[in-house]
Symmetry: C2
Subunit: 482 residues, 2 copies
């Protein structure tokens, strides 16, 4: 294919030689090589088409022509740093401000969600003059040293928990300490934060921030119970701390009904700091911190400049503006609401056919499917989840997640659910293959999308056990992309 410059084996050999192996490939045994994309579809070097169920970064669709046009036009005109006065940065900040509660009206532009969270931590500590941070269990807030410290998902595998970091229970009403049957799980989980604050105070320490994703993603596509954030914010502020909403994965309309996932907690709730990233530039490195006049003022008061070489440059802001335009013009929030509801509905129906589906949850195009081997015990079906090679997350890696480009269609949702149905049917049916064999076949070729989806779609639902090849195809659904 014209767009391929190296043979796949050569690319792979060079990758292994030249790129740090900590940077993992999807399906490293037999990685997929994608060379072009459009909308929700990816194409490999043989022009095979894949349906993308997880690229939340490519929010308005891969290679959207409006974004490319905006980028190219501004690149041709000017791309200085934000120490120069420029229209794009202020127009973009103004547009973002319009999506947020009034008090979140000061912006800092950076290059990644990690840079945004690092700055949020600095802002919180500078404003409160306190050090300690409360985070949710299993949280991930970024790859920088400061963020590994506040990410249980990472620090448990690395340097361990610092004395200034405190871990609150994940407010998971499916398998957490308070569940659906609790009369007020929002209050109950918020009280665990209150207890933690008291414990911190007993140690003579002080809280600078409560830091949480508005919908914990690596934690397992968790929907926070109603009332939780408002109560937590009240407790944290009483302790002199601030509430940081990490919207890096969840912002920009993914939840459909609202522009920001924290808004699901009601109009009465407003964080003190909001961080944003991934979908913001549709793949271009662009991220941001929004905060209040008071917090920004305290940061300015230290008298030290904050300079981010690329942050808020005219090209990044032109791209950011174009993304906002497309979200509006193509009614992608409306689409997320409609398609997300349809997807959840189909998955809920599927739950009646497959005992292994313990829970279906989500909002808009942020959906999780939790697999369990026993519905009463809620035993995580980690092995099955692993065998079917879909995107897994959560403490037991048994939550299949959907967070596709926002142009995902009704038909795409139907196709994805049909494929999951077939995979689960095949995996729970007596087979001539050992699970180990299935695992090997799947994990060696699967990718975050549906391979040859046209063929899969026409595959008769009630036919005999899937052939190796077809089973492989059907299992190519989603992969982890945190």
């Amino acid at each position: 294919m014209a767009f391929e410059k190296l043979r796949k084996e050569e690319t792979l050999a060079m990758r292994k030689r030249l790129i740090g192996q900590s940077c993992r490939l999807f399906y490293s045994d037999e990685p997929v090589k994608i060379i072009k994309a459009r909308g929700q579809y990816l194409f490999d070097e043989n022009d095979k088409r894949y349906l993308d169920c997880i690229s939340n970064v490519h929010h308005v669709g891969h290679c959207h022509p409006s974004i490319t046009k905006a980028a190219a036009e501004q690149m041709d005109l000017l791309n200085t740093n934000a120490r120069f006065l420029h229209d794009n940065i202020v127009m973009y900040a103004d547009r973002l401000a319009a999506t947020l509660p009034e008090k979140l009206c000061v912006f800092y532009f950076v290059n990644s969600g990690s840079e945004a969270n690092d700055l949020a931590l600095r802002l919180a500590q500078q404003y409160t003059q306190h050090q300690d941070v409360i985070v949710l269990d299993h949280a991930y807030h970024g790859h920088l040293m400061s963020l590994i410290d506040i990410s249980p998902y990472k620090f448990r595998k690395l340097a361990g928990q610092k004395e200034w970091v405190h871990v609150a229970p994940l407010p998971d009403t499916y398998r957490g300490i308070y569940r659906e049957d609790h009369p007020n799980p929002g209050q109950a989980y918020a009280d665990t934060v209150k207890d933690l604050i008291e414990e911190v105070h007993r140690k003579g320490r002080k809280i600078s921030a409560f830091f949480a994703e508005s919908l914990p993603s690596v934690g397992g596509q968790i929907i926070l119970p109603q009332g939780y954030s408002t109560k937590v914010a009240e407790y944290v502020r009483s302790a002199g701390g601030v509430f940081v909403a990490d919207e890096v994965q969840t912002g920009f309309g993914r939840v459909g009904s609202h522009f920001w996932a924290f808004q699901l907690q009601g109009e009465g709730f407003c964080p003190d700091i909001v961080t944003m990233g991934k979908p913001m530039g549709n793949g271009h490195p662009l991220a941001c911190v929004a905060t209040t006049v008071e917090i920004a003022g305290a940061f300015t008061a230290n008298g030290v400049e904050y300079f981010n070489t690329f942050g808020g440059n005219p090209v990044s802001c032109a791209i950011g503006l174009a993304v906002l335009d497309v979200i509006e013009k193509e009614d992608l929030r409306g689409n997320a609401t409609r398609v997300g509801a349809h997807l959840k509905d189909l998955l809920t129906k599927l739950q009646t056919q497959h005992q292994i589906i313990g829970d279906v949850r989500g909002v808009g195009l942020f959906v999780g499917l939790e697999l369990v081997s026993d519905r009463d015990q809620k035993t995580p079906a980690t092995e099955t989840a692993d065998q079917i090679c879909v995107s897994t997350d959560g403490p037991w890696e048994n939550v299949v997640k959907f967070k596709p480009p926002m142009c995902f269609s009704m038909e795409d949702a139907e196709l994805a659910v049909r494929c999951i149905d077939r995979i689960l049917t095949a995996l729970t049916r007596p087979l001539s293959l050992t699970p180990g064999h299935i695992h090997k076949k799947c994990s060696s070729t699967a990718v975050s999308h549906l391979v040859e989806w046209e063929h899969s779609a026409s595959y008769p639902a009630g036919s005999e056990a899937l052939s190796h090849k077809r089973r492989k195809q059907a299992s190519h659904l989603t992969v982890q992309n945190i």
Copy 2:
């Protein structure tokens, strides 16, 4: 002008309202609004042309058409993350490897020099299993929390020095503890690092890394004395640490004779980790860490994935490749050598006419001009440097720096030097204006470039004292851009 969307006053008002004030504007009293650029020239909203003497980020020239074309073509084709196999990342790593010593052959792509330095710190600590870091006095390595800790330029104004950070003297042979008259300043300064290591060991602590810019920039455009890095590397490695060369400001041929500034220390010297950033994507957020197989291996061995959402994506790598192509095709290293030598020569001649010029130093298009009110005492002429509104750096903010786009021409160098001549002449001549007045007039309008340079260039050299307006024009030369 067609490209201006808001009136300047409106842009300024919105900027003050919406963007954190810690993000400073150049000449905040009366900031310049730049709306287009090409090569080494910037244009404001009234189509006034400015010569850019300091934008090292826009390395191959502002808005280079080859870079825009490469970006737009790849944006239209594909922009996934680096978990997918792709040709661009491996081809780019291969091209970078060809510029480096053989042992620096493993790459990690990130979005900013700060992200690169943060990762370098992690790599060093993981590999050595030691914590402590030695840095040079006045150094700046980035805006992230981990980097403020290792940047004396920042931590002295903020949280202070951590117990694991140790500051070595800046090897400045103009005003440091060992000067030009020392028989072997390289060895003498390296020995200060050796002493520091011994002091660290006496405290029962262990060195993970010596971290330094290959040409300390914020430190005052310092050229490290010969032999320094080789000796320091020897001492640091003996202590079980690694040598990190921060090439974020200095790499990609700026020094002309070599692709990397660390190579000025001779063929025998090779760092263990090299970080790169600013010029790498000509304004696009792109940065990188290069290291050895051994260090990368130790990082992989911790078993934890390193995932950077945007790092190494096909668009960033396409841009990086295009930048390398332009550097080669337009012989920008040759240009940096020739124009840099001419600029240094002209400034050295100027030194014979202006007592205030204490030192002229530099290599390629990385040049510093140090102003002193007394040549023997080397008293920093901070106020004069401030009054003439040029880019200042160094501990006393009295070093005027040049680090222009690499397409800077002989004529540009001549013009810049003529203007400095006029500014210094005017400032040291009896005037009817108070210095305070001059300062106000200058700092309120100056910018990192020459305003209306065509007019300035034709301004007769021997005429009467400059009018306010003309003095303003002539003083528009450079500003700080770290």
